[in-house]
Symmetry: C2
Subunit: 201 residues, 2 copies
């Protein structure tokens, strides 16, 4: 039955159309401006149509989040070039910070916003988990040179460190330091370096 196949295909295409438009608006105009109605306007369909392809806004955001994680994974894949685990960890941490600082809205979606985490009663947060596993593996590999006693606790700590740096900045809690925009990122990277040094034996 070729018709069912085509329908299936068209359904996927429609999902892509919606997803791409949403991602576009999200990256360009941020979370606030990305409403169902605005997305619908952009793809020239009625708002109700979107609900034929996504259960609700959370499910749509969940999809965006997954794509964002793929972006970050690629950043890691291309940017982590060192052979040594500690150096890998250092690279990873810096790439993470740079990614967060240059894609604040995507960062929101992945690590700050509550909404997409409600979708489907948290489908195990697959994309997030695999990114975390990646970190766990690096730490596992460098465990002999790290001061961590527990791998998971260590992974969580280093993640918390970089997330803390990025999210405080992204949410404007570091404005009081009154540093020029570009100096700020240098400072964050310096903090990362310092942290890696401190956890290395």
């Amino acid at each position: 039955m070729g018709i069912t196949d085509r329908k299936e295909r068209e359904k996927l295409e429609m999902r892509r159309l919606i997803m791409d438009a949403a991602m576009d608006m999200f990256v360009k105009d941020g979370y606030e401006k990305t409403s169902i109605r605005n997305i619908a306007d952009k793809i020239e369909y009625s708002p109700a149509t979107i609900y034929l392809y996504y259960k609700d806004k959370d499910e749509l955001l969940w999809g965006l989040q997954t794509e964002a994680f793929e972006k970050l994974a690629e950043v890691f894949r291309e940017g982590i070039t060192a052979a040594e685990p500690i150096e890998q960890l250092r690279q990873m941490a810096k790439l993470y910070v740079e990614f967060g600082m240059s894609n604040p809205d995507l960062y929101d979606l992945m690590f700050i916003l509550r909404s997409p985490m409600n979708a489907e009663k948290n489908e195990e947060w697959k994309s997030g988990s695999s990114a975390f596993q990646f970190l766990v593996n690096i730490i596992q590999a460098g465990m002999d040179k790290l001061k961590y006693e527990d791998v998971t606790l260590g992974a969580m700590s280093s993640w918390a460190m970089v997330h803390g740096l990025v999210s405080l900045n992204v949410r404007g809690r570091c404005k009081m330091l009154e540093l020029p925009e570009d100096k700020l990122q240098d400072m964050l990277l310096a903090a990362v370096d310092q942290y890696i040094d401190n956890i290395t034996r």
Copy 2:
């Protein structure tokens, strides 16, 4: 002129009434349920009245935030009992984590939500700044026993660490670890201990 005095007093009382109601709803039902209309309902005034006392919702949230910082300051005042700077830092970090985990909505307001930071073009974020200064002082005092080279960078790092731990949890990014609720907080406190040990020489 006694009348002007009374009017002034009544104005302050009204602000208090609004603020208290808002804080109540915020702590009890969270950010989402705390709408201008709901607050107005609670104090039995029209929504428009609130706008006679607060420019917009951001300004109201700003007020709530300031009060939340006072709560945290008191937690520090009562809980930091050690004489030694390093121990003070350890206590402070743990109190911070505990505060965040037991008051997730207030924590949101203070360190995560974007809204209140827009009020009045960020009035220097006075309450936040003084809390940060408190941290800076402790770190300054213990600088000889700390591995930090720069006080500000050190303060930012340790803040980022605890904020990272709390905010990842508060926003449900640690669910994948599949830990029982109470074990989680123990893990966070263990991470804090580990961090303090690592930055101490």
